[in-house]
Amino acid sequence: MGHDTAEWVFVAVVIAILVYVGADSWYTEKLVEDVPADATVIKVTGQQWYWSFEHPNGTKEISTLHLKVNHAYKFEIYSRDVMHSFNIPDWVVFEDAVPGHVNHAWFAPNQVGTYPIQCREYCGLLHYNMRGTLVVEPDSKT
């Protein structure tokens, strides 16, 4: 085996791994961005320094969001003043709230419980306290 062979094997192995990285990331991103058609839309608005939520039936909540387990939810994320970032760490929901722009995120909680919501973009003096609570409740229909 000459030098060339070893070098080409080395190059091929690295390229193969990088191709795998690209293909797998692309496929996973497609999976993650595919919002279920039956997802309920929740309007999320960030403003200094709290979160407000609006359900499709017009019900509004401040800082605490009540959702049903095993349902899909699509968040429409707005900001009234400066940049915020809507984050539910336990459910890997993490999207910026940008003034004049609507961002989207979705998730489907499959465990009942209480989870923290927090702002992840420095947005002023009380940014540290711009927290909320997600309450995932059992679905009475099931």
């Binding site: 192995v13 791994i17 996973t28 489907a108």
Partner: protein, 99 residues
């Protein structure tokens, strides 16, 4: 050397394929969820990418370590210059003249 490269490739392929096969078998045994589990999907992707990154790191740094070890001056294999090493070096003089 050939054997080493062959073993390395087999190990790499095994590292990439075994978890995928195990995951596929597990998915067949359990009932499919109605919705995608984002947490599991994102964290699985993170660990797969970490494995790939460390594998690339190991291949590249391993090659460099081997290169430095193999071509060090004190390696007995390097006593005779290779055919790539007959370079023009004014300080070394002309080997034909016996300097």
């Amino acid at each position: 050397m050939k054997t080493l490269i062959a073993i390395s490739i087999i190990v790499l392929v095994a590292i990439a394929l075994v978890p995928q096969i195990a995951h596929a078998q597990l998915a067949q045994q359990t009932a499919p969820e109605k919705y995608l589990d984002l947490r599991a999907t994102v964290w699985n992707e993170f660990f797969r990418m970490t494995t790939a990154a460390f594998t690339v790191g190991a291949v590249v740094s391993g090659t460099m370590i081997w290169l430095v070890w193999r071509f060090r001056e004190s390696n007995p294999k390097n006593k005779a210059p290779t055919r790539w090493e007959h370079l023009d070096d004014p300080a070394a003089g002309d080997p034909e003249e016996g300097h």
